[in-house]
C-alpha cells in the first residue's frame, strides 16, 4: 500500500474520532467542571491542605494544573469509544476498510492526541489571561509537553482498553487508572504537601507520573513557579514512547487475535 494512502487512511481515522469527540464536548466539559468542583470543595473542607505557605496563589496554581488535567481527560476519552467499538463489534467495520492495521492503530492514537490538544487550547487561553505570558522558548516547551502528554494519555487509554477481552475488567482498569492518575498527582497539591501526605516512595512516584511532570512544566513555563525538574521533558518523552509502543502492540493483538 502506498505511503500516501496509508497517511490518508490514518488521518481519516483520526478525523472520525474528532467528529465523535465533538458530540461529547458537553459531557467532557461537565466532567472537568465536576472534577474542579471536587477540588474546590475539598479545599474548603480541608482548609489546612491549601496552605498559603505552600500555595501562594491557589487560582494560578490550579489553572496551570488544570492544563494537564484537560489534556488527560480529553485524550483519555478515546478509551470509551475504542472499548465500546470492540464490545459492539463496530471495530469489525474498521478492519474491513481499505487501510492497513497500522493506519487504524496510529489513527486512533492520533485521534486521542488531537482531542487532548484541541480541548486544551481553551485552558491555554485561560492561563495566558490569569497566570502569565510565556517566552518563545517556553511556548515551544509548552507545546512539546502538551503533545507528549496527549500522546501518552491517548496511548495509555487504548492500552488499558485493549489489554483484556473482559469488558468488565476493562472498565474497572480504566476507571481505576483514571482516578489514580487524577488524584495521585501534583495537580491539586504541590510537591511539599505531597511529601507530607504520602510516605516517601509514593510521593516520589506521584511526582513522576506524566500528569505531574506536565503540570510542573506548565507551572514553570507560565511563570507561576521558579522550580522545574530538569529531566521532566525527558521523562515525559520516555513515558510517551513506552505507552505508544505498548498501546500499538495491545491494540493490534486485540483486533487481530481472532
Amino acid at each position: 500500500m502506498e505511503v500516501r494512502d496509508q497517511v490518508r487512511g490514518c488521518l481519516l481515522i483520526a478525523y472520525r474520532d474528532l467528529l465523535r469527540f465533538w458530540k461529547f464536548k458537553h459531557w467532557l466539559f461537565s466532567q472537568i467542571v465536576m472534577n474542579l468542583a471536587d477540588v474546590v470543595i475539598f479545599a474548603l473542607v480541608f482548609n489546612n491542605i491549601v496552605n498559603r505557605q505552600y500555595i501562594p496563589d491557589y487560582v494560578k496554581f490550579m489553572s496551570t494544573g488544570v492544563l494537564a488535567v484537560s489534556v488527560f481527560a480529553s485524550s483519555f476519552s478515546i478509551a470509551r469509544e475504542v472499548g465500546a467499538e470492540i464490545r459492539r463489534e463496530v471495530v469489525q467495520y474498521l478492519l474491513t476498510l481499505p487501510t492497513s492495521r497500522n493506519a487504524v492503530i496510529a489513527g486512533r492514537i492520533i485521534g486521542g492526541t488531537l482531542r487532548g490538544l484541541i480541548y486544551q487550547t481553551a485552558f491555554i487561553a485561560l492561563n495566558l489571561a490569569v497566570v502569565g505570558i510565556p517566552s518563545p522558548k517556553q511556548s515551544v516547551i509548552i507545546l512539546y509537553t502538551s503533545f507528549m502528554l496527549a500522546a501518552a494519555m491517548s496511548a495509555l487509554a487504548i492500552a488499558i482498553t485493549t489489554s483484556t477481552r473482559d469488558f468488565n475488567l476493562q472498565a474497572t482498569f480504566r476507571a481505576l487508572t483514571y482516578y489514580m492518575l487524577f488524584f495521585f498527582s501534583n495537580v491539586f497539591y504541590p510537591r511539599e504537601v505531597l511529601a507530607l501526605r504520602f510516605p516517601g516512595a509514593l510521593a516520589t512516584i506521584v511526582t513522576h507520573t506524566p500528569i505531574s511532570l506536565a503540570a510542573e512544566v506548565y507551572r514553570w513555563s507560565f511563570g507561576y513557579s521558579e522550580y522545574i525538574n530538569p529531566t521532566a521533558l525527558y521523562e515525559l518523552t520516555l513515558w510517551a514512547f513506552t505507552l505508544l509502543v505498548t498501546a500499538s502492540l495491545l491494540y493490534r493483538r486485540n483486533i487481530s487475535g481472532r
Partner: protein, 312 residues
C-alpha cells in the same frame, strides 16, 4: 482468475468449529449465493474473506492474494455489508456514509454527491440526520447496503442484505447487485431468502454445519433432488392401465393415482414429459393436459440440509 478461492478453510472459535474444511471457488464477474441454515458458517466465511477473522487453517485467496498474509492488498478489493449493522449510537447516517465514502477513496466533494445520490436511491435521505439508535432495523440494514453501493468494490459482499428490509428496497438492491456485476464486480450474497437466491444468484453453495453440501446453478441443484419434479397428467381412460403404463418407465418414484389424474415424482420432469405422454398414448389413454413443476429452492434446501422433502 477466480475472484475468491477457498482452500481447506477451517475456522474455530475455541471449542466451536464454525467452518470445517471448506473448498470453494467463486468466479470473477458472477453473482454467487451462499445459503445455509442459521449457524452454518456463512458469516464466518464472509468475515474471513473481508479479513476480520483469520483462518485457523487453510487459506482464502481474493484475486490470488492470501487473506492470511496479504490482508492490506485484499482489503483494497473488498467491500462488505454486514449482517449486523455496524455503528455507534451517536452516529448519523449522513456522517457515517460521508466518512465511508472518503475512506474508500472519494474526495470530499465527490463524496457528498455520491452519498446524496445513494441515500436518495435507498430512501434514506429523510433519515440522514437521525442518530443511529433512532433508526428502524430495516433502515440500519439499508445503511450497510449503501456503504457497498458507494464503494463499488471489485468484490462486493452482502451478508443477508434484505433480512428486515421492505420489498421496494429488495428490488432496488437486486437491481444494484446486477448493475455492479455488469460493471465488472463479483458479488457474494449470503441469504436465507430462497426467492432472492433464485432471483439473482447465478451459482449457489449450500452450507450445513460448517461444511459445503452442494454447489451449482439453481437448475443444477434442483436436478440433484431425487424425485424432485412433479409431473401431473390429466387423462381419459382406464386408470389401472394408465398406472401400468407409467410404472413401466424408469425412475418413477412415488406416485398418486386419481380417477382422471396421475401425479408422479421424478427427476428432470421437463425432459421426460414427452416420454410420459407417448407411453400413455400407446396404452390407449387420452392425455388431456400435462403439467410439470420443478421442486422449489426450499425443497433443495431441505434436501441438502438434512430435512426431508414435504410429503406428496
Amino acid at each position: 482468475m477466480a475472484a475468491v478461492k477457498i482452500v481447506n478453510f477451517v475456522k474455530r472459535f475455541g471449542e466451536v468449529t464454525a467452518v470445517n474444511n471448506l473448498n470453494l471457488e467463486i468466479y470473477e464477474g458472477e453473482i454467487f449465493g451462499l445459503l445455509g441454515p442459521n449457524g452454518s458458517g456463512k458469516s464466518t466465511t464472509l468475515l474471513t474473506i473481508a479479513t476480520v477473522y483469520k483462518p485457523t487453517s487453510g487459506d482464502i485467496y481474493v484475486f490470488e492474494h492470501s487473506v492470511s498474509r496479504e490482508g492490506d492488498t485484499v482489503r483494497k478489493f473488498v467491500g462488505i455489508a454486514f449482517q449486523e449493522p455496524k455503528a455507534m449510537w451517536v452516529d448519523t447516517p449522513y456522517e457515517l456514509l460521508l466518512w465511508h465514502a472518503m475512506i474508500v477513496g472519494y474526495t470530499s466533494h465527490e463524496a457528498k454527491n455520491v452519498v446524496k445520490e445513494t441515500m436518495e436511491r435507498l430512501n434514506l435521505w429523510e433519515h440522514r440526520k437521525k442518530q443511529f439508535y433512532q433508526l428502524s432495523g430495516g433502515t440500519r440494514k439499508k445503511l450497510e447496503i449503501a456503504k457497498v453501493m458507494i464503494q463499488r468494490p471489485r468484490l462486493a459482499i452482502f451478508d443477508e442484505p434484505t433480512a428486515q428490509v421492505d420489498v421496494i428496497t429488495k428490488h432496488a438492491l437486486w437491481d444494484v447487485v446486477r448493475e455492479m456485476r455488469d460493471n465488472g464486480s463479483t458479488v457474494i450474497v449470503a441469504t436465507n431468502d430462497m426467492f432472492e437466491a433464485e432471483k439473482i444468484c447465478e451459482r449457489i453453495a449450500i452450507m450445513y454445519r460448517g461444511e459445503l453440501r452442494t454447489l451449482g446453478s439453481v437448475k443444477e441443484l434442483k436436478d440433484q433432488v431425487p424425485g424432485g419434479d412433479v409431473v401431473e397428467v390429466s387423462f381419459e381412460g382406464d386408470r389401472e392401465e394408465a398406472k401400468d403404463a407409467l410404472l413401466k418407465l424408469d425412475g418413477i418414484g412415488r406416485y398418486m393415482l386419481g380417477n382422471d389424474k396421475i401425479v408422479a415424482y421424478l427427476n428432470k420432469g421437463e425432459e421426460r414429459a414427452a416420454e410420459i405422454v407417448s407411453a400413455l398414448m400407446s396404452a390407449g389413454i387420452k392425455v388431456k393436459r400435462i403439467m410439470v413443476q420443478e421442486p422449489t429452492l426450499d425443497d433443495v434446501f431441505f434436501y441438502f440440509t438434512g430435512a426431508r422433502l414435504g410429503e406428496g
